[in-house]
Symmetry: C2
Subunit: 320 residues, 2 copies
């Protein structure tokens, strides 16, 4: 099965399970909690969870899928709270939860999803010791995600963020939940410690690479392709890895901190290509992915391990 | 040991453990998370957790105390988020987290405490099966607390809240976390299902009774005793059990929905006493506590069980 087919199949499975669990929202608060969760999404974290489990032991993901769902539910909890903090009005093409229900209910809606995640881990059919460890890993991961979001907000007030600080931030904000997805799938499937560790590092790395690719896409993808504002990060003076690499190479981006015409964006991209900023950033992401894949060598060779490789490449090769 | 001594001793133990876990906050976000947690509080939930555990098996609370701390940490998480929603500027005599760090960081600070709670449950020295169940119970409880807070906010826009709706709200907002405290202590100590159930119901009941007593205190306690504004609930037209009982008995409180002079508050109390509103509300709380204590008869007789009785009476006999 190719990756695209696998992801589509998993998304359907995840949506079916979501519907079984939360398809009948009783209260208005349940509706608010469900809003974003039922608004689509690629369901990449449950897919990674499944691949990790099935790489350890073929077919093992079936009984533990609720714990895979926990990762999607946790992800949506963080999005609801992030949207409040960032004051974002839309997500996945729909009004955000706080736009529809107000901030107090949106805070609670996120809290409810957070709580549901731990109920879901408990629902997995797996040894209790593994469930305790999975639950603790998910909790520790959530603390790190919060730290990542806090760092991201702090960076908005700074112009001197270093490469290491940036990598720490994206690893916490995006990487660790992918790391937890892979590690939880593995440990609930009965993996050994080296296998769990390899998958955790793999997940953290491809998640961070995903975020770097996001920064590249913001600059490079034409709005008609991405549906987003092109080069908005540069316009806002955001401390992305592109801005940091440009600074390291003595490229002054301050003339571009304003509304840019398409021809100016082209000129900016030309400048960043000439100074090898973009190629270096791309190489950073590519190297992370390559190292992540190499780390999988402790796992048995099987179709799922191949799909883990494909998934890693997909994270840095998507154009938008 | 009398209850007062026991509670003081437990508070010291809890504060020591808090300090061991979180005494060295690394990040600014950790400081925000710690702020309220280290600002005091009676630590009633860990005390209840300990009493439940030790009633099941003498001395069993020692190894599982981190899970007892989880209840205090969860309680503080809900307070931080509630204070944002309610726009409250002070709590425990100190500025609230969002007043000091802003709302985005306060949302995250609450989320961090929520996550820490599940790490703490995993840290208890107990059978894994019991830890999985305790974790799931805590998660389910958090969903209900959110529903309780949402109901409480909804009630502010209504004047026709029924007695049953009120009792459902206070049970969710306050009762279930006491229920979880008692049940988690018991189940981690190896209790039987009937013992766990009895302690859960006991906790829910005394927690709800605590909230009813709060309503009585708001009306009755002179500000020099309580440190709070007397009769503020009536002034704000809040749907407390006093307002609901008054409505049931045909007492019109609308003339009192304004700033009241001390003499008017005295007149109001006189009216509510004459119409037997206060005595009926007090009887509701007293009956809940009596039933809760009767339910403990499935437990062995021991000093801790006596303290559980005393704690229940303390909840409805405190004057402020």
């Amino acid at each position: 099965m190719d990756l695209e087919t696998y992801l589509r199949k998993t998304a359907t499975e995840v949506n079916t399970l979501l519907d079984q669990y939360y398809g009948n929202p009783g209260t208005e608060l349940s509706k608010a909690s469900n809003h974003l969760l039922f608004a689509g999404g690629k369901r990449l974290r449950p897919a990674l969870f499944k691949l990790a489990a099935d790489t350890i032991r073929s077919g093992s993901s079936a009984g533990i899928l609720p714990a895979g769902l926990a990762l999607e539910v946790t992800h949506n909890f963080t999005l609801i709270h992030d949207d409040i903090m960032d004051g974002d009005a839309t997500r996945r093409g729909k009004p955000t939860v706080h736009t529809l229900w107000g901030e107090p209910a949106a805070i609670l809606a996120g809290d409810v999803l957070f709580a549901r995640s731990f109920c879901l881990v408990a629902d997995a059919i797996a040894p209790d010791a593994a469930k305790v460890e999975a639950s603790a890993l998910l909790a520790k991961t959530c603390v790190e995600i919060c730290e990542g979001q806090q760092l991201d907000m702090t960076f908005e007030t700074r112009q001197d963020v270093s490469r290491d600080e940036y990598l720490d931030m994206v690893t916490k904000k995006t990487g660790v939940l992918y790391g937890a997805a892979a590690a939880m799938g593995a440990l609930l499937a009965g993996a050994t410690r080296p296998q769990i560790d390899a998958l955790y590092i793999y997940g953290c790395s491809i998640g961070a690479a995903f975020q770097i690719q996001d920064d590249i896409i913001d600059l490079m993808a034409p709005p008609e392709q991405s549906g987003k504002d092109q080069a908005s990060d540069i316009r806002e003076g955001k401390q992305t890895i592109i801005a940091i690499t440009a600074r390291e190479k003595g490229v002054d981006l301050s003339p571009y901190r304003r509304k840019l015409e398409p021809v100016e964006i082209k000129e900016l991209i030309g400048l960043l290509q000439e100074k090898e900023v973009i190629s270096e950033v791309q190489a950073t992401a590519d190297n992370m992915v390559r190292d992540a894949i190499n780390g999988l060598s402790v796992l048995r060779e099987c179709p799922e391990r191949q799909l883990l490789s494909d998934l890693a490449y997909f994270f840095v090769q998507r154009g938008y």
